[in-house]
Symmetry: C2
Subunit: 161 residues, 2 copies
DNA sequence: TATTATATGATAATGAGTATTATATAAAAA
DNA sequence: TTTTTATATAATACTCATTATCATATAATA
């Protein structure tokens, strides 16, 4: 587990260097935070964590670095139905369940074989002409267990997609 | 085809009335625009179309109505990697291919049977505890044919997810 | 037609994200 | 190690999508 995290960190760091970007302490710390986090933090969340080690860090720096990581595909942006973008340091194949009430984001496991069968078929069917896919998104919007129970006890809901 | 569109309009209108919302001319026009559009317009796009018939319409009114339609699940919000939200009046099962360069959004066909096999399995696997799903999202981010050709001729790209 | 609750439009406010720029510092060369 | 240079950071101001407020208008209902 610890080894996994470190190799992930090393992967990103060497990519950063290989691509000619310099490795500042702030940047390293940001990479650590997103690559180790399981909570899909927003830029402000990352900013708040950073301030412990770097009280003078600028939010701008956080945005710049997260954008950089996203542009080199080492972090995935998650657009929820709420206001801000969230970042996922786990770029392996998976989807997200997003609670429309509390905003919590839960990973949805997808196994590679299922994916190959389904998504590749979608891509083949839909993109006969050249179309360059470099990312995907799979989201389930709804209410998490906690929020569902809360809502159910207060009012009767009857929505259905 | 014309019949399809009209019945869709009627569905939304009767839902609006049944839920106790009043039907203003502006609201009706907004419903018409989004339900008939195939281009996944943003709020401002809808606003611009509206101004032909209602020059005094407020952008605020557009936002309010699109939010209302979204809340009753008659319009789907699409979060792209760009700035603004886009709206889809087609709430049938499908995904979106989003061009990261020009922002164009193309429908990705998904047939119901495939969906049942794949998505339902995902839901069962991941949400053993109660979790209320009322919407989903499936996006392919990349470059559309046009933008891909442009990019390819200018610079060599070697990204791969 | 009168009543009432909701919708609209005008305006201001919010807040996520971006642009700018002077200073600082990582990386590379000497 | 020191110098050089290009990139990164931090502070600040700015943009712009979306939301809030509230007075006025109007749809729905009696």
């Amino acid at each position: 587990m610890k080894h996994q995290v470190n190799s992930r960190l090393n992967d990103i760091v060497s990519k950063i260097k290989k691509m000619g970007y310099s490795l500042t302490p702030q940047r390293l710390e940001i990479i650590k935070i997103v690559s180790e986090s399981k909570s899909h933090p927003s830029a402000v969340d990352v900013y708040d964590k950073l301030r412990k080690a770097y009280p003078m860090i600028s939010l701008n720096t956080v945005y710049k670095n997260l954008s950089l990581l996203s542009s080199i595909h080492e972090v995935k942006e998650i657009r929820t139905l709420q206001d801000s973008v969230h970042y996922d340091g786990d770029i392996s194949l998976h989807g997200h369940a997003i609670c429309e009430k509390c905003g919590r984001i839960i990973d949805v496991k997808i196994d590679e074989s299922d994916f190959k069968g389904f998504f590749d078929a979608k891509i083949k069917e839909n993109f006969k002409e050249n179309y360059y896919i470099n990312n995907y998104g799979l989201e389930f919007y709804g209410l998490c267990g906690l929020c569902y129970n809360e809502t159910a006890s207060n009012e009767s809901i009857s929505v259905q997609s």
